[in-house]
């Protein structure tokens, strides 16, 4: 047994920055005058930016730390040194995604925190804690850390979802989220325990080695079952059908910035975990999880899109859309294990495709939520009908929203979404999963319907003549424009446009990151 593990502080620097910032926010909040508490959010924002910068600066060595020495696992599987925390392209790309998502969500939170009297310090703290969990999960390379990190990133969000304290819906959202989440977590944990029992290891590379080398495990049905039980928790996080139930209800009940956080950062973290577990630990069992994920992907996108068709609530619509998008995101994983081949190269490509889509999805989804956050300030009901004629009230936001919706639909000028879809289609067809590609094709069409419906509504004329008095009152009731939300919209628009014309940035990053 070795001495205490040596720690590469450069590798964990982002984590330290985020944790430190979290504590700092909490403490600073105590000393801030009541009126200036919004500063806590800005401080938290600084923390995310700091984490982002350190993550990029720390580089992609790859740095490995928290290592344990090599050993011989049951069944005579020899392993080398395994590390729990690895910083490589994958980690950095995801860290960047998390930080950006968290930052934008914080920007969206500035106004609600100030106006809805949410506890700013705690708010910032919780977001940063969740971010810490996410950064950990992206870097984690053993099941224990992944499980703990998963909990760390989820737990603050339960609280955040229930933070609109006077609103029973918010509490309901939190409870639903909590219960389904804990339940899926328990299933995953059970799966983890079985995997541990079967392989005798928790480090992903060791699990992979054991699964690959031990033929006796192949003969046990338990192995396959364990593998899929582990998947459940992540499927829950990414809201894949049939683990998606919580998503629409929770998104709707939670504050809009938190819904955005769930749809982007939290979902990305789920995908990070899923990619790690499937592509690293369970790589030899691709023949088991591949087809299952393909079915899940098809079910997810189909159900998500179909139910989204008849939504009348904007956030709910985006929730179902995020379910549908999760389906697209799962396609490469489902395909990788398809008939096309199960070589490591295929899996790398699949991972890269998922990551690329994820990056683009996060950008455009954040943008859409930012626009919704803007409108929510005037029309807290968030009914889709509230968006009618938005172009006359806030032309820039209207155009931005339409742009983001087109992105999500994958239609130019939403090039980001277009390329995202191309990447996934490409992986499906190169992988030989033509049927899945066709299902996705039909889904793209269904998806376009509801995205476009809203986009057109934004530019539509008034449904019936609005009485001037009412219109006046509506304007009078409007809250002051939030600079932070405007900034969020600006950042996401620029980001999405840039990624739209240079998708190379994330696609190649995804290729690089294509996992160990």
């Amino acid at each position: 047994m070795s001495q205490l593990q040596r720690i590469d502080y450069a590798a964990v620097a982002p984590l330290i920055v985020v944790s430190g910032a979290a504590v700092a926010v909490l403490v600073a909040d105590l000393f801030l005058p009541l009126g200036r508490r919004a500063l806590s959010i800005w401080l938290a924002l600084a923390g995310t930016v700091g984490a982002l910068v350190t993550a990029v600066l720390a580089g992609t060595g790859p740095r490995r730390t928290f290592c344990v020495p090599g050993t011989t696992l049951p069944g005579g599987v020899r392993t080398g040194t395994s590390c729990s925390y690895v910083v490589d392209h994958f980690t950095v790309l995801l860290t960047v995604i998390f930080c950006v998502a968290a930052a934008v969500c914080l920007l969206l939170s500035v106004a609600p925190v100030a106006e809805d009297r949410l506890p700013a310090g705690e708010y910032g703290f919780l977001i940063l804690c969740s971010l810490a969990g996410m950064i950990t999960i992206a870097a984690a390379r053993d099941l224990i850390t992944i499980v703990v990190a998963l909990e760390v990133l989820t737990l603050p969000v339960y609280v955040l979802a229930g933070l609109r304290r006077g609103d029973p819906r918010s509490a309901e959202a939190a409870l639903k989220f909590f219960l389904v989440s804990v339940l899926s977590g328990a299933v995953t944990l059970f799966g983890v325990s079985l995997v541990y029992g079967l392989t005798g290891a928790v480090h992903l590379d060791r699990v992979a080695a054991a699964l690959a080398q031990r033929q006796d495990l192949r003969h046990l049905s338990l192995t396959a079952a364990a593998v899929l039980l582990v998947v459940v928790g992540f499927a829950f996080k990414v809201s894949a059908v049939p683990f998606h139930w919580w998503a629409p209800d929770t998104y709707q009940g939670a504050p809009v910035p938190i819904a955005a956080f769930l749809a982007t950062a939290s979902k990305s973290a789920g995908f990070a975990g899923l990619l790690l577990v499937l592509l690293v630990a369970f790589r030899p069992y691709a023949f088991v999880w591949g087809p299952v994920l393909a079915v899940l992907a098809a079910a997810t996108m189909t159900l998500g899109n179909l139910v989204a068709l008849r939504q009348r609530h904007m956030v709910r619509l985006l929730a179902w859309s995020s379910v549908a998008q999760a389906g697209y995101l799962l396609v490469p994983l489902g395909v990788a294990a398809g008939s096309g081949g199960r070589s490591d190269g295929d899996l790398r490509t699949a991972g890269a495709a998922t990551l690329a889509f994820l990056s683009l999805y996060v950008a455009m989804s954040l943008g859409a939520f930012a626009c919704v956050a803007w409108v929510t300030r005037d029309k807290p009901g968030n009914a889709i009908e509230d968006y009618r004629g938005l172009v006359r009230r806030s032309p820039v936001v209207a155009v931005a929203l339409a742009f983001f919706l087109l992105c999500l639909a994958g239609l130019p000028p939403g090039f980001a979404g277009l390329f995202a879809k191309v990447v996934v289609f490409r992986s499906a067809l190169v992988g030989g999963a033509g049927v899945l590609a066709l299902i996705m094709a039909v889904n793209t069409v269904i998806g376009l319907y509801y995205y476009l419906r809203v986009a057109a509504l934004v530019f539509a004329g008034p449904a019936e003549a609005v009485r001037p008095a009412m219109a006046l009152r509506a304007v009078a009731a409007g809250r002051p424009r939030s600079l932070a939300v405007a900034a969020a919209i600006g950042v996401t628009v620029i980001g999405t446009v840039v990624l739209g014309f240079a998708p190379q940035l994330v696609i190649s990053a995804g290729n690089l990151a294509g996992l160990p």
Binding site: P412, P413, V422, L452
Partner: protein, 500 residues
């Protein structure tokens, strides 16, 4: 450089127009005219570098765009592309000119022209792209602007029609994408030039079949081929004039162009296998278009259905896989673009004046009431029914001829039957156009119209927008070599890829 310019000009113009403040709406129209005119002139410069008999692209641009998915910004222009590009830029220019005259509710010329320019980028780009994915990207670019053009500036049922259009064509283009990527998965490259040179070698026959079916399905929706045409009448009926013109004039050509440019040379074995299917559906389209037109009561709907029939000829030409057939299809494309645009302009002018396009509501006697408009409508209708001496004839007659003698590997008897049916369909096209002329242009004006306030005849701006099309309709009819000389070498090159 010119290749990029012909895309960059309208793109920048669109940006400019979109950013133009609302109170400059009047000047926006002139900006639109200026930009589209410049684009038109630049597109003429694409002729530069062409040597007679040049077979391949005589200009091309090829830079990396997204290496990770092998996407290159690869443009080229050859005899197949050029006429369509020029047609596009010309029609866009005419649309911009027409907008100076009239702008449907709710106005906002700047936005509308910006959309038209984006549309132009997509259309021209589609015709110039030499990379499968790039082709797809441009193919998709047109959807959103056209949707908004119809939905915002269209008629009372515009939203439904626009949605139907966009969903239907998106379904098509997604299938197209699947097909393109199937090709990519099999061949490992997206370079259309290289793929066309390979003549499908390296792609298994079964894969070629599947890929062709997918490409075919995607492009057929756009063309539109019977029975996936039903978005067209709705879209046309509701679209504003400019939308109808561009939709019929260019957008439909993207489908047939795609078949010629992508489906035929890249997966020839698949093309050979499914060409009879294409032929049968094309002729069914001719029949349905012809018969359905006969019962239409709405002018725009009638013209729209006639497009189904006319594009049927183009598709029939393609389905023969022969040089004559492809030449006829390409010419038919251009001719239909010119003639149907003129028809839609004329019908749009009528609709603008009478606030309806129902023939019964308009009443007869247009020749007396609005002689210029009536004459233009007559000319367009006559050209559209395929009268020799006008542009519509050549494409249709030679499509029939090509069907009479299709590529050697195809079933002669089937094609012979189809040729006869198509010829009969062509003749019957006369029936509905004459019916239209009879009830709208000819005859005495309705009694009510004599007392109503006089409706103005075509204004100078309108004539300026329409005259080039009328002229082209005649010139191309009398001297089709204008286009055919351009397309011939490229088609000859293309046909070498085809079996038989």
């Amino acid at each position: 450089m010119i290749l990029v310019g012909v895309l960059a000009l309208p793109a920048l113009g669109a940006l400019l127009l979109a950013l133009l403040p609302a109170h400059l709406d009047r000047s926006a129209r002139w900006v639109g005219v200026a930009v589209t005119a410049a684009t038109f002139l630049v597109s003429l410069a694409l002729l530069d570098g062409r040597s007679s008999g040049a077979k391949g692209d005589w200009q091309h641009v090829d830079v990396r765009w997204v290496p990770a998915i092998d996407l290159r910004f690869h443009l080229g222009v050859d005899g197949i592309s050029l006429p369509l590009v020029v047609l596009t830029t010309l029609l866009t220019l005419l649309c911009a000119i027409y907008t100076v005259h009239s702008l449907p509710a709710p106005g906002r010329a700047g936005t509308m022209l910006a959309l038209v320019l984006v549309l132009e980028v997509g259309m021209v780009g589609t015709f110039l792209a030499r990379d499968l994915l790039l082709f797809f990207v441009f193919f998709e670019v047109v959807l959103a602007p056209m949707y908004f053009l119809i939905a915002v500036w269209g008629g009372p049922q515009a939203r439904h029609a626009a949605t139907k259009f966009v969903l239907y064509t998106l379904l098509g283009s997604v299938l197209l994408l699947v097909g393109l990527l199937t090709v990519y998965a099999a061949a490992g490259t997206l370079d259309m030039v290289a793929l066309a040179h390979a003549h499908g070698s390296g792609i298994a026959r079964s894969t070629q079949g599947a890929a062709f079916l997918l490409l075919f399905a995607g492009l057929a929706v756009k063309s539109p081929l019977w029975p996936v045409h039903t978005w067209l009448p709705d879209a046309h009926t509701e679209a504003p004039t400019v939308g109808s013109v561009l939709l019929a004039g260019v957008l439909l050509k993207m489908g047939t162009y795609g078949l010629i440019r992508v489906a035929l040379p890249i997966v020839p074995a698949g093309a050979e296998r499914f060409a009879p299917l294409l032929a049968v559906l094309a002729v069914a389209g001719i029949g349905v278009g012809t018969l359905a037109c006969f019962t239409q009561t709405d002018l725009k709907r009638l013209v729209a259905y006639s497009s189904v029939g006319h594009m049927g000829f183009v598709l029939l030409g393609i389905s023969t896989l022969s040089e004559v057939g492809v030449q006829a299809a390409l010419f038919g494309n251009i001719a239909h673009g010119v003639i149907t645009s003129l028809l839609f302009f004329a019908v749009g002018g009528i609709k603008e004046r009478f606030r309806t396009s129902e023939m019964a509501a308009i009443g007869g006697g247009l020749a007396k009431r609005l002689p210029r408009l009536g004459a233009l409508l007559t000319l367009a209708a006559v050209a559209s029914l395929g009268l020799p001496g006008l542009a519509g004839f050549w494409g249709e007659a030679f499509a029939v001829l090509a069907a009479y003698r299709p590529a050697a590997s195809l079933d002669r008897t089937l094609y012979l039957t189809l040729a006869v049916l198509a010829a009969v369909g062509a003749a019957l096209a006369a029936a509905y156009f004459l019916r239209m002329l009879r009830s709208v242009v000819a005859g005495p004006p309705p009694a009510a119209a004599q007392h109503a306030a006089a409706v103005p005849d075509a204004s100078p701006v309108e004539l300026l927008a329409w005259a080039p099309l009328a002229l082209l309709g005649v010139v191309l009819g009398l001297y089709p070599a204008l286009v055919l000389d351009l397309t011939k070498p490229a088609v000859a090159l293309l046909v070498t890829a085809l079996p038989g």
